[in-house]
Amino acid sequence: MKVRLSIPEPEGLSAGHLACQGCGATLAMRYALKGLGPDTVLVIPACCWTILAGPAPLLSTGVNVVHSPFPCAAAVAAGVRHGLLARGKASTCVVAWAGDGGTFDIGLQALSGAAERGEDILYVCYDNEAYMNTGIQRSGGTPAGAWTMTTPEGSALPKKDLDAIVEAHHPAYLATATPAYAEDMVRKFKKARGLTGFRFIRVLAPCPPGWKYEPEETVRLSRLAVQTGLFPLYEREGGAFRLNVPVAKRRPVTEFLSRQGRFRRLGADGETALQARVDAAWAALPGRT
């Protein structure tokens, strides 16, 4: 007898890749490839995944990768899409796969341009909330209070609301995902693949060395981010907003924060303030229609 699996069995990701133990961005790629299938091209700007894809000709993704300069993943992906169309290869899904630094900050202009033009690509931001590959510097995706090498006392700035920025471009599809909810994630990538126009998925990807926790906690933290309401899982297709995991009883944010060294300096006041912000954002969620 064979067991029933909740996500597809075929793997695009190959073992032997170069990610740290317990890397959430790697789990994200594993599930993304399960949803996208082999007829896919990835465009990856400078980020951890530049390294994780492997030294040519070896490759860990099972699908072709175009390495792009840091600021222009969305523009390169749009070009690859047009090139494939010119060659009659309409079925190939072109995916820009960028970190938070390459999305919230450095790639934002190219992202905005591609979204505005309605380029037929899927843009994925795997958000590990800092510039990890260069040794943990603060990005626009870093949450308030988090330690990074450039915010030794904890970041004084709030996390940029990237989803709202992308939403303002009226994309064909916008969704959030995180590895603990693997089925939800695979479904969203499969769905995005089947749609036309500019599509965007932001994946919260826990990072053990960057968030300062033990590798075995990756899935637990990914789950807690959703269950505390810090990272709501939702999707928006055309005009319709849908909260995918309603979380009837949210857990206190401290359960998420206290497991990570990066929030060690936040203190009780910081935690209370963050809880209030999460409560307010959660209450405003249904209005995001």
């Binding site: 067991v3 699996l5 990756t218």
Partner: protein
């Protein structure tokens, strides 16, 4: 519009399928390894689902952990709902 199809390819398309990173064994990255206690295992395959190395495969009703690539992150141990996985220390080489 000019069609690229009419031009000869100067470079062949890069075919990657045959050169996966699995040529790179990552077993010496770990200091602990997961040990399966088959009598407790329910075959839920959560260990397979959550392994970031994709080094657990499904063998009938049981998971098989390929230790040549396991980095010892212990996610499978943390996520196993049946307590069927424990950690063992690796000896220093």
């Amino acid at each position: 519009m000019p069609r690229l199809d009419e031009d000869p390819f100067l470079t062949p398309p890069i075919l990657t399928g045959g050169r996966p990173m699995s040529a790179n064994k990552t077993r010496d990255w770990r200091s602990v390894r997961p040990v399966l206690h088959a009598e407790k295992c329910t075959g839920c395959m959560l260990c397979w689902k959550f392994c970031p190395e994709a080094c657990v495969s499904v063998q009938g009703e049981r998971p098989l952990i390929h230790l040549d690539w396991c980095k010892g992150c212990a996610i499978c141990v943390a996520e196993c709902p049946a307590g069927a996985l424990t950690l063992a220390e690796e000896e220093a080489p």
